[in-house]
């Protein structure tokens, strides 16, 4: 195990962490500002991936595919917000879970009816299909570099939006004290609709960008939902900064668990025990991390609400 290998694995951890952040960002934004638990975030992610895959295959233009995916998903989200989510803002979290679980059931059947159950073809754009040499002896998938870049850009964009713009100010006002903001003349309903659309755009972006390196099929939303929830819980639900830190943490712990734990165990334990224990531990590393963090800090690393 040489230095390059360790460096590569750290980069992999960073890459996976940023992927998780892409998905978790929208989820935590909606929760933090609207106090709404949206399990259907995974369904929006799936919608983004499906639309992007179809448009990319039909047109051959990846950027166009991502743009259309974001547009279509935001439009779907606007309808969902108007019909369902709008009436959930002041309701109990558990009721929100119930309603958005219902949306998942409907969304999965809708996708099945439109595109069938077979996984869709989602290819990597030709220019980014191969690896690039980061330096001698370390080829790295260029598409993953794009994902890392996108993750960092989203993080920066959200930071600027929330902290430096007028919209961000309204958003923060609506989040910290809805009634007060309403008295001051802020149309909170409009702000919330904007935040939900933004969350949906982020979910669609994540889905469109993940499509070329993962399976585009029904259930992909639920598969990614659990790690995303783990990330926002560790970070402190509602905190974008927390989600960023937690995503990197989970990415690193998960990758390190898979890359270094099995060989390390093999060095100290009998082979048969190590062969069983290593992968089992690596598989639950993320959950152990979450349980540990919540034991020490019951409201996550960066609690957003008092």
């Amino acid at each position: 195990m040489d230095a390059i290998f360790v460096f590569e694995q750290l980069l992999n951890g960073l890459g996976y962490g940023l992927m998780l952040f892409l998905i978790a960002a929208g989820l935590t934004l909606v929760f933090g500002i609207m106090d709404t638990m949206n399990l259907a975030h995974g369904s929006l992610y799936m919608a983004g991936a499906y639309v992007a895959a179809r448009v990319h295959e039909a047109s051959g233009a990846f950027v166009l595919a991502v743009a259309v995916a974001v547009g279509v998903t935001v439009a779907i989200a606007a309808v969902v917000e108007f019909v369902v989510i709008r009436r959930l803002y002041r309701r109990d979290h558990l009721v929100q879970v119930l309603a958005t679980f219902g949306i998942i059931l409907i969304a999965d059947d809708a996708v099945k009816a439109i595109w069938g159950v077979a996984p869709l073809l989602a290819s990597t754009p030709a220019a980014l299909a191969g690896p690039v040499d980061l330096f001698q002896g370390l080829p790295y998938p260029s598409y993953r570099l794009l994902l890392i870049g996108a993750g960092l850009a989203v993080a920066l964009g959200l930071y600027l939006l929330v902290n430096k713009t007028r919209v961000g100010m309204l958003v923060r006002a609506g989040a910290s004290n809805r009634q007060m903001a309403e008295h001051m003349g802020v149309r909170v309903g409009g702000v919330f609709a904007f935040v939900f659309a933004l969350g949906a755009a982020l979910a669609a972006l994540a889905g469109a960008l993940m499509a070329p390196i993962s399976a585009v099929q029904i259930g992909m939303g639920e598969a990614i939902l659990i790690p995303a929830l783990v990330v926002i819980v560790i970070g402190g639900i509602g905190s974008v900064r927390g989600a960023f830190v937690a995503a990197l943490l989970v990415g690193m712990v998960d990758t390190a668990g898979r890359a270094f734990l099995p060989p390390a165990l093999r060095a100290v334990l009998p082979p048969s025990v190590a062969a069983d224990l290593g992968p089992a531990l690596a598989g639950i590393a993320m959950y152990v991390l979450m349980a540990a963090v919540l034991t020490l800090k019951p409201a996550g690393l960066f609690p957003a609400r008092g």
Partner: protein, 388 residues
């Protein structure tokens, strides 16, 4: 009050069901994976079943038949529930359908106790091939045989150092052990991943560091799609990939596209296998389903109903004579899509296994192509443990 409600709903259900019963003598229960983890494969199987039903004109052995198709969501518990309904409410004579080994293992005991033949349309779990073998279970292959064939392919290709990768669950370990059974070279590393894993960067880095001659992967469904996409994207396309057929069948190929080119995989059937029954089947399938090539799941589903058809014909429609039906099933008189085969002592077939390579057909469509026969008249490794 609640119970009254429940009763009345149940009664209503029965009433409607009673209307549905026509003069069908023979009933086939088909449990489908149309949602859940194997939904893509379940849909392939459904297409195969439907083509067969069409071809048979809705009959079995010339007798009117009813084919009861229901989704069970890939969940073994729900499969159990569905089979209870098939047995107690519908009174089925044959059972088939599930894609997963877990569902097959869950529903077996109830079917065997009721003396209903279960013709597997996919899984051939080692338990049913060995100690828990049963005269009422018929398989189309044993799970490990694909891997055994892949191990032989690795020998023939002269690979000396291979990395193996599978999900961390007993079936994953079984498949890797199946590969090692006939493989004679060295194993550089065995990597076990989390079930349902999305990101494979860490494993791909390990593979790159190990510099193997080839990689053998058993990663069913979405996991395989994720892995191959990322493997090729990581610049490892010069390292050959070998897989058992289910990790590189049409569903995976159509979802991954170009990166699949060159993947070697083994199966007991392929769509370009030359025999009249298969040629007819593939042509009919492609005509019905928009030019798509059938996968092994569609072929097995089709074969399953053909086997039932032949058995009913052989017993002259006397379906209640279970002994005669079993005897007819055990000595199949139909033309199988896979060509010649016989059942071993454990009702698992003795048959050929083929090497396929993913390439392009004349129209430029990416698909599996037959390379050659890897194992001839091969029998599974568990037959010795079967006392039947």
């Amino acid at each position: 009050m609640l119970q009254m409600k429940k009763l009345s709903v149940a009664l209503a259900l029965c009433g409607v069901a009673a209307l549905n019963v026509h003069a069908a003598d023979i009933k086939v229960g088909i449990a489908l994976d149309l949602s859940g983890p194997f939904s893509a494969l379940g849909a392939e199987a459904r297409d195969g079943f439907e083509l067969a039903i069409e071809k048979l004109g809705g009959k079995l052995g010339g007798q009117p038949a009813e084919f009861i198709r229901n989704d069970f969501g890939g969940n073994p518990e729900q499969a159990n529930q569905l089979v209870a309904r098939f047995l107690q409410r519908d009174g089925i004579h044959f059972f088939t359908g599930p894609i997963g080994s877990n569902a097959a293992l869950a529903v077996g005991p109830a079917l065997f106790a009721a003396k209903v033949p279960y013709l597997s349309a996919n899984p051939g779990p080692s338990a049913y091939a060995g100690e828990k073998c049963n005269p009422y279970f018929f398989a189309q292959y044993q799970n490990d045989t694909y891997d055994e064939a892949a191990g032989k392919v690795a020998n023939e290709k002269g690979y000396r150092n291979v990395v193996l990768i599978a999900p961390n669950y007993p079936a994953g370990k079984d498949h890797l052990n199946g590969f090692k059974r006939l493989y004679k070279g060295g194993v550089k590393d065995e990597i076990y991943t989390k079930l349902g894993q999305i990101d494979y960067a860490a494993e791909i880095a390990q593979i790159r560091a190990a510099k193997p001659d080839a990689v053998f992967f058993f990663l069913p469904g979405a996991m395989g799609i994720n892995f191959v996409k990322q493997f090729v994207g990581g610049g490892l396309k010069d390292i050959p990939l070998i897989a058992p057929g289910f990790s590189a069948d049409e569903d995976v190929i159509q979802a991954v596209g170009e990166p699949m080119l060159g993947v070697l995989n083994t199966a007991h059937w392929t769509h370009d296998l030359q025999n009249p029954a298969n040629t007819e089947f593939v042509a009919a399938f492609r005509q019905k389903y928009a030019g798509r090539y059938p996968s092994v799941y569609a072929a097995m589903a089709y074969d399953t109903l053909m086997a039932m058809d032949a058995a009913v014909r052989d017993v002259g429609g006397k379906i209640e004579d279970r002994e005669a039906v079993l005897k007819a099933l055990k000595n199949p008189s139909f033309k199988s899509l896979r060509g010649e085969f016989q059942y071993g002592a454990n009702n698992f077939p003795v048959q050929n296994y083929y090497l396929r390579e993913v390439g392009k057909d004349a129209e430029g469509r990416i698909t599996n192509k037959l390379v050659g026969t890897t194992l001839e008249k091969h029998q599974d490794a568990y037959v010795g443990a079967c006392k039947m």
